[in-house]
């Protein structure tokens, strides 16, 4: 089944609130080989003006992931997950994610293109804090390889 060309412009309901835990941030920071005390030590983060440890830039993918699952699980999308390759990724920040944030994420499909038998699906996930303020937008292009 080909990717549904009508997908462009479609939005999914906001993800359930994600509470950013201090230990999760530290675990993620160690996993991406971060060494900054601001990612690992609450006292160092507070001394730099943050409420708690600061998440590394790519931590936003953990929150974005829930919204990509909505897209991939949508039977109407026509996206065969076994044929999906991550093409590119972007994070555009208003402010960094900090432990204690309660985040919700809403995905919108911004474009669907065909290129040499493959489909390129670009989706933008807006991540907001509990006050509705913008934190980061996470933008992914998924390459769906064409059938034989």
């Amino acid at each position: 089944m080909p990717v549904n060309a009508e997908l462009a412009g479609r939005s999914y309901p906001p993800s359930p609130p994600y509470l950013v835990g201090r230990e999760k941030v530290r675990e993620f920071a160690r996993a991406v080989l971060a060494t900054s005390p601001l990612n690992l030590d609450p006292d160092a983060a507070r001394a730099a003006g943050y409420a708690d440890v600061v998440a590394p830039p790519t931590f936003a993918v953990v929150v974005q992931e829930h919204t990509l699952a909505q897209l991939l699980d949508d039977p109407d999308s026509g996206i065969d997950f076994s044929r999906v390759v991550h093409g590119d990724q972007r994070f555009s920040f208003t402010r960094p994610i900090v432990a204690g944030d309660e985040l919700t994420a809403t995905l919108t499909v911004t474009s669907v293109k065909s290129l040499g038998g493959h489909s390129m699906v670009t989706a933008e996930t807006a991540v907001l804090d509990a006050d509705g303020g913008h934190v980061v937008s996470a933008i992914s292009t998924l390459v769906v390889r064409g059938g034989e």
Partner: protein
């Protein structure tokens, strides 16, 4: 910081080499929630046409920005925008692991309308002599 004064396009601001092992991949899988078995099972990786277990693209993206964060005095909050294209797999051998080198260079210096000084830092991430990320750009606040 004074280190950023006199900064010029083309300056290398940071370099770091990362040694990845299968252990690194398992830790990233757990921390990120990405449990795709191509990142820990050779048989499954080979069955979908890969040479073997490869690093998560998001792990490569995540570590490639770290030298820049360190250059920013450890303040990852100064990263305003970060993008990459995934161009080649990083295969992580079960015994030898894999070495990824990252070089961060000033691509553009710019002052925003609100007066904030920013830089676009261009990253070159390489494995086995070939680049693994394309258009890897980090926009950072300099003040």
């Amino acid at each position: 910081m004074s280190a950023r004064e006199g900064l010029a396009v083309g300056d290398v601001v940071a370099e770091r080499s990362f040694h990845l092992t299968r252990d690194t991949l398992v830790r990233y899988a757990g921390a990120s929630g990405d449990f795709n078995p191509i990142h820990y099972r050779d048989d499954i990786a080979v069955s979908v046409g890969l040479d073997g277990v490869l690093a998560h693209g998001m792990l490569t993206m995540g570590l490639a920005v770290q030298p820049v964060v360190d250059w920013l005095g450890g303040d990852s909050g100064k990263v305003l925008d970060y993008q990459v294209r995934f161009t080649r797999p990083v295969y992580v051998d079960a015994e030898a692991g894999a070495d990824v080198t990252v070089v961060a260079k000033v691509g553009v210096l710019e002052t925003l309308q609100d007066g904030r000084a920013t830089a676009r830092i261009d990253l070159t991430a390489a494995f086995g002599g070939e680049t693994v990320l394309g258009k890897a750009q980090v926009r950072v606040a300099l003040a």
